[in-house]
Amino acid sequence: MTTETEASVLAGVDETPGVAKPDPLLVADSVTRRFGGLTAVHVDHLEVQRGAITALIGPNGAGKTTLFNLITGFDKANGGTWSLDGVALQGTPAHRVARRGMVRTFQLTKALARMRVIDNMKLGATGQLGEHFLPAFLRPLWRDQDTQVEARADALLERFNLTRVRNDFAGELSGGQRKLLEMARALMSKPMFLLLDEPMAGVNPALAETIVGHIGNLRDEGLTVLFVEHDMDVVRSISDWVVVMSEGELIAEGRHSSIVTNPAVIDAYLGAHHGTPLDRDEQDRVLAEAEAAIEAAEAEGEGP
């Protein structure tokens, strides 16, 4: 699914941690977050290429979500600077970061349960006049804008195959539908940079495939995507670039093919492998072995 242009933009880039990109949208320097004595994140330098899909991977506890929280203003860094499209963002509160065009989703999906799906969507639009206290009383002031917002919301619901549940409460949706809703809702603000925290977690394989397709389409429309993911098949299928974190630091960057053979990455994963999911090929192999063993046992049981 990787487009020719994006692949070639990053083609000549060195595969070393913190390497400069041809056209970075996000540039971060010395981003540090300490919890007591533990340094959860210490990223010396990171650039995220505009218009590309970058995967952020690493073992559990590597600091991926913490890094997300820091650059989106949901957590306060102990130090460091970062900028989006040249505008410094350190110290900016979360809602302003979102208005600047960097919108995130959450690992544990945050559907607004007791609101209708369509209202979840309409909430995502920024700059609504009717969100100010006094104009709120006077519907004629914001009716036209609200109609436009609703039309955009309906178009996105259609695209994400959620039109059927438009008037349901978001709390009635399945886990996978909630993931889709959260992604669609984030797009309502017309972001330039989308940060997805495990967009495929807990989603059935068919729907995961759909989400992969959506992410690819967004990139093709010019959106920049950074996503955290554990499933290496997904990472391989859509990411243009892979960034690996371990123990709070960047340990590798590069294309998927070189990342999987990178000794530092293998070390990091093996060193902290307990409890992390195996990749799918390995899972299949283990399953096949188990099945074979069961069949053999059954054949023996049925014998004379």
């Binding site: 979360a94 969100e131 009383f137 519907r139």
Partner: protein
């Protein structure tokens, strides 16, 4: 037992001034708790500040009653900011603690004997709302039908009171169907989600606290002006919980829930009062079990049991949507 009398009294109470006061306070609390998810356990503090601001403005500052009402609105905005600015950035429980404490601090302060010249101490202040009854356009006489009969004065107070209830309930309805109300509900559901979509959750919570607080203060202002007196005893913490009871009985986050709920609660308390007194008088409840001095407390116990059953069997209240309550909010 005189059932006709009990029912008539109940019907009168359900549309009386106490019902108005509870309804107004509950409309404000509905903005906080129902729509924004703010745990305000000190709505009575807003009522008290509204009431005393009017009384003190007129009796001590020699302002006209109408200016006094504006002062009261200003005072309730100030209280909302005082309570909200430091706490609303923190977890939800902090507002709960601070509001319940603020209500009690307020009551303790106005009872302070040192300030008796200004606040009237434990006796409170009276005789400050002549201007309200002076503008009564209803000619002297007796009005009403069925169980409802009022003097011109009483009818004037009820008209203004229910007018306020309708206007404020409709104002809240207008707000909640707007994009502004949509943001409040999103803050109730998940503050971080709201922030991730560019909404200043803190700013909206402050606005909500101010709006609901001013409506709560209106309840206090109405109560003070209608009786032309304020006493600290009116502002005990349990009042907040009666307001919550009315709100939950009617249905949270519903336009008319707080209004109907308050009328029912007040009517129900009066009804239990009449029934218990009647039963004691006729010996249905033996003297050894309880006497008329205990009726006031026992009716609360009975209504409390009723509310507990309501929460079990109809958690959404009378106007709520069961489906909505059953949702998993994570």
């Amino acid at each position: 037992m005189d059932w006709i009398d009990i029912i008539n009294t109940t019907l009168r109470t359900a549309v009386g001034t106490t019902a108005i006061v509870y309804a107004l306070a509950a409309i404000g609390l509905n903005v906080h708790f129902g729509y924004t998810g703010l745990l305000n356990f000190g709505q009575v503090g807003f009522m008290g500040v509204g009431a005393y601001a009017v009384a003190i403005s007129v009796t001590e500052l020699n302002l006209s009653l109408w200016v006094g009402l504006l002062v009261a609105v200003g005072a309730s905005v100030a209280l909302a900011l005082l309570l909200g600015v430091p706490t609303l950035r923190l977890r939800a429980d902090y507002l709960a603690i601070v509001t319940i404490a603020a209500g009690e601090i307020f009551r303790t302060l106005i009872q302070n004997p040192e300030w008796r010249d200004t606040t009237g101490g434990a006796n409170g202040i009276s005789q400050f709302s002549d201007s309200f009854y002076d503008v009564n356009p209803i000619p002297v006489g007796s009005y009403g039908f069925g169980p409802w009969h009022y003097s011109a004065r009483g009818l004037w107070a009820l008209t203004v009171g229910w007018g306020l209830v309708v206007v404020l309930a409709l104002a809240v309805w207008l707000l909640m169907r707007s994009p502004w109300g949509r943001v409040l509900k999103s803050v109730r559901e998940d503050e971080d989600a709201a922030r991730s979509l560019g909404k200043n959750a803190y700013g909206f919570k402050i606005q909500s606290l101010v709006v609901g607080g001013v409506i709560g203060a209106t309840a206090g202002m109405f109560q003070a002006v209608e009786k032309s007196s304020v006493t600290p005893g009116n502002y005990k913490p349990e009042t907040t919980f009666f307001i919550y009871a009315g709100l939950i009985l009617g249905g949270v986050a519903r336009t008319w829930g707080p209004v109907i709920g308050s009328m029912l609660l007040v009517g129900l308390l009066e009804f239990m009062d009449g029934v218990l007194r009647g039963a004691i008088a006729e010996g249905i409840i033996p003297d050894g079990l309880m006497d008329t001095t205990q009726v006031g407390q026992v009716r609360f116990v009975l209504v409390g049991i009723g509310l507990a059953l309501l929460v079990v069997f109809r958690p959404q209240g009378l106007f709520g949507d069961r489906r909505e309550i059953a949702l998993e909010t994570r």
